[in-house]
Amino acid sequence: MAFDSFSAFIAMEGHGPYVWTCYGVFFVLMVGLMAWSRRRRSATMAACRRNYERQERGQQRAARPAATFTRVEVSQD
């Protein structure tokens, strides 16, 4: 351990604010990027699934007239 106490570790001999700001921003951005990337994949999966399910329903009721409006598919990113 390079520090005598926990408070000395936080203070870093006056450089604490600089060091901890850097590490804080680093963790927020990295974790945010990772979580966002994961959510985007799940959202894409869900969008694809909805698409396929509607297509299958559409094939079953092919005889009925087409809907009067169309849904626009927007990728969920």
Binding site: M1, A2, F3, F9, M12, E13, G14, H15, G16, Y18, V19, T21, C22, Y23, V25, F26, L29, M30, L33, M34, S37, R38, R40, R41, S42, T44, M45, C48, R49, N51, Y52, S75, D77
Partner: protein, 247 residues
């Protein structure tokens, strides 16, 4: 060798490999990065000149290093896109550009916060800092250009050309501190020489760099998978995969 190259070009094959690889990349990456950071923050000795502010190096160097490596990888992928028209190469460029943007921003930000207590200023227009800022704009430009062009094939080529044009900036970043007078100090890690710091400082730094590399690998796999799903949603294998619910 060529067979491997062709296999690598198959989105389906890549998707499967990525799924199997990703848990290992994530676990190993997070462990290495955290080990490096905790070691660097709490256990490495302080610097004789800068005191504890130098501890920012344990994230500044990994992010700056990755920011440049990612651009080089993108440039290689751009050549593959232009010459071999391999779809996965283009998928890679689009998937990792935002990651590169975040890493470059982090390198600049941590550098600025480090510069204040050591140099006495947040920012100076020296060759190293300016060329790194240009790298940030290049990443931004790649993302914007890709969004601006609707047609997938034209976008792929335009983006590849932009990435290649920008790659001249990489040697400028790397050698700026040697070619010109700068406020920024020369590199601590060089491939050919011993690092200019003792082992109890460079080992945690190396761990953090390796860890961030693996996390980047995980992010690249994840984001490429997303891009592949969007592009290949009309294919049978994507439909099977999605309907099976195995992500």
């Amino acid at each position: 060798m060529w067979q491997f190259f062709h296999k690598l070009g198959s989105p389906k094959w890549f998707y499967g490999i990525a799924t199997r690889l990703m848990p290992w990349l994530l676990v190993a990456g997070v462990l290495l990065l955290l080990a490096g950071i905790v070691w660097g923050l709490a256990f490495a000795p302080k610097d004789y000149l800068q005191g504890n502010s130098y501890r920012i190096i344990f994230i500044h160097v990994p992010t700056a290093f990755l920011a440049q490596s990612v651009y080089i990888m993108m440039a290689v992928a751009a050549v593959v896109t232009l010459v071999w028209r391999m779809k996965l190469a283009d998928v890679f460029v689009k998937a990792v550009a935002p990651v590169g943007l975040v890493l470059t921003f982090l390198a600049l930000f941590t550098g600025a916060v480090w510069g204040k207590p050591t140099w006495g200023t947040w920012w100076i227009w020296d060759a190293r800092l300016t060329s790194m800022l240009i790298l940030l704009f290049l990443y931004g430009g790649v993302i914007a250009l890709d969004r601006a062009i609707n047609d997938e094939k034209s976008a792929a080529r335009a983006v590849a050309v932009l990435v290649l044009v920008g790659v001249v900036n990489i040697p400028i970043i790397k050698y700026s501190v040697e070619w010109w007078n700068t406020l920024h100090q020369p590199a601590t890690f060089k491939l050919t020489e011993k690092p200019s710091m003792p082992a109890e400082m460079w080992v945690p730094l190396l761990l953090a760099v390796l860890g961030l590399y693996l996390i980047f690998g995980w992010l690249a796999c994840l984001r490429m998978q997303t891009e592949i799903l969007v592009r290949e949603q009309r294919t049978r294998w994507v439909k099977d995969l999605v309907m099976a619910g195995r992500f």
